[in-house]
Symmetry: C2
Subunit: 318 residues, 2 copies
């Protein structure tokens, strides 16, 4: 039986890695002489913006979908999300040949609805409130028998997200630290659990926008302190930790650094201009944290996970 | 003695490849399931937008600079360019530890001047006319003794540009066709010479904007027909062929396809949205040509050279 606070261990992450291998890209680890010079450090970028659907979310969604027994899978999967998890679950379901139902607010951008529909999912519109979202999801699950896959508060999803750092450590070699974005904490939890077991000498850090700093406040305060009215251009990091992800983070994360939206814009421009990679604002909070704390990282070998690249090119944040 | 119409042969391109290897990136060859589906073909993208200075131009500039004897090199190198060749020659000179003088029109964007100056070159301003540019360059060469490295009308430069397709053929395997952008024809000449010798079964194609279609008209007319007042968003493809590059193109290029600026914008968006790569307009004319001629390439294996990624993120062309 799966408990609400279950977390995967290293074995579960390694099993997830084998399970999802046929479906996900092994994304490249890139370096940049310009950014190394700027930070006076050696930085290794795990490019999950080049992952399928443009985000690491495809790892966790694929692991969850592939783990379902055939009878459960046949009824399909469901989630509520207007972000990268929606696309990820849609494609993971399409790949397994099962239905996907995605509850999205009526106000979600047309481009996001089109992307989810493009992967064959059925979009179920709801009013743009948390209550309407949860009620609509419950109704979908009741009516269809679909299996709910949460964007981050799910041990199978966390195990899938933890596979990115396994590859990063294999490709980059020993690292002094690794840094990921933190929103709901799925990527950070998986990264922290895997890194603690595989590379105990590697410090696990996270970064988040100052306008959605629940993880930093929660870690400092020793208890969950969710964001109220988060405000940031990092649209993938608006969510708050769950008890499950907070437990993993308390156990394994050394520090959570906050960054301003201006630092995020600057880091996005650096990556697009110097590395020629398209990254979304949420993806570069880690780099932004390093650039603004250069003096603390001089001479270190640091892994950075670029979480995604889904940005509206017609509305760049500058 | 180097003749004005000399062209490199395969051996010269292979020697260039060895010569520049310590200095250039071996850029990745990427694929995209989305673009393969769209074109119903297998497309292999040689990502020279990820090359140093963000463009293939660094290959040719490095080959020319590294070939100089010490006495000549010590006096430095010079060119006229406000584009990627200027940055490429500046970095190639800086890498060898010699001066570089770059003649640029006073009207060139500040960001381009800053990039060239950032690689340690001396910028020599001139009025924005062809005559002023040539006169100023001649004066610089007379005063400094610097060695002129033309952006494309130079056998050493062409040999360097030809090294990209050598790597593409090694990494992608047999190809039915390879397609490059064509402006002055340096990349296309080098590609055509190398591919004809290494992979005679691979058709060499080129693409250019309809608003700067001198290469297509010249190939069709059997004589050089330079562009008059070219007009396109592809700022790297405004120049016309030289007798030297035209000779290589007549000998080895199967067809030159023209594309509209709208098709270029669409292809840029496809690459940035789907492949998460930053590309400049000039870089995607080849893909634009394929997308608009889908029915002709179904089932084929095609190599596309993305020539560069230097685009002003504050002024995207849409």
């Amino acid at each position: 039986m799966i408990m609400m606070t279950d977390l995967p261990d290293l074995a579960a992450i390694q099993e997830a890695h084998e399970r999802i291998r046929p479906f996900v890209h092994r994304t490249p680890v890139m370096t940049s002489a310009t950014l190394d010079d700027l930070c006076e450090a050696e930085i290794f970028f795990k490019c999950e913006n080049l992952q399928r659907v443009g985000a690491f979310k495809y790892r966790g969604a694929t692991n969850a979908v592939q783990l379902l027994d055939d009878a459960t899978a046949a009824r399909g999967v469901a989630t509520h999300s207007s972000g990268n998890h929606a696309q990820a679950l849609a494609l993971a379901a399409q790949t397994r040949g099962i239905p996907a139902y995605v509850v999205m607010p009526r106000t979600a951008p047309a481009v996001k609805k089109a992307a989810v529909a493009g992967y064959g999912a059925e979009i179920v519109p709801c009013e743009p409130t948390l209550r309407a979202r949860e009620d609509t999801l419950a109704q979908v699950v009741t009516e269809t028998g679909a299996h709910f896959v949460h964007p981050y508060d799910d041990a199978r999803v966390i195990a899938g997200q933890g596979t990115a750092v396994v590859e990063l450590l294999e490709d980059a070699g020993p690292l002094d630290a690794v840094i990921t974005p933190v929103g709901g904490g799925g990527l950070l939890s998986g990264t922290a659990i895997a890194a603690a077991a595989l590379a105990p000498g590697t410090r696990v850090l996270a970064a988040e926008p100052a306008g959605a700093d629940d993880a930093a406040r929660s870690l400092a305060g020793g208890k969950l302190l969710p964001s109220v009215n988060p405000d940031t251009i990092c649209d993938g990091l608006l969510t708050s930790l769950s008890p499950r992800t907070f437990a993993a983070i308390r156990a394994h994360v050394a520090a959570i650094l906050t960054v301003s939206d201006d630092a995020v814009r600057h880091a996005m421009q650096l990556v697009m201009e110097r590395m020629k990679l398209v990254v979304e604002p949420s993806a570069v909070v880690g780099l932004a944290a390093l650039v603004t704390r250069r003096q603390e990282i001089a001479g270190r070998r640091i892994g950075v996970i670029f979480s995604g690249g889904n940005v509206d090119l017609r509305q760049m944040p500058w």
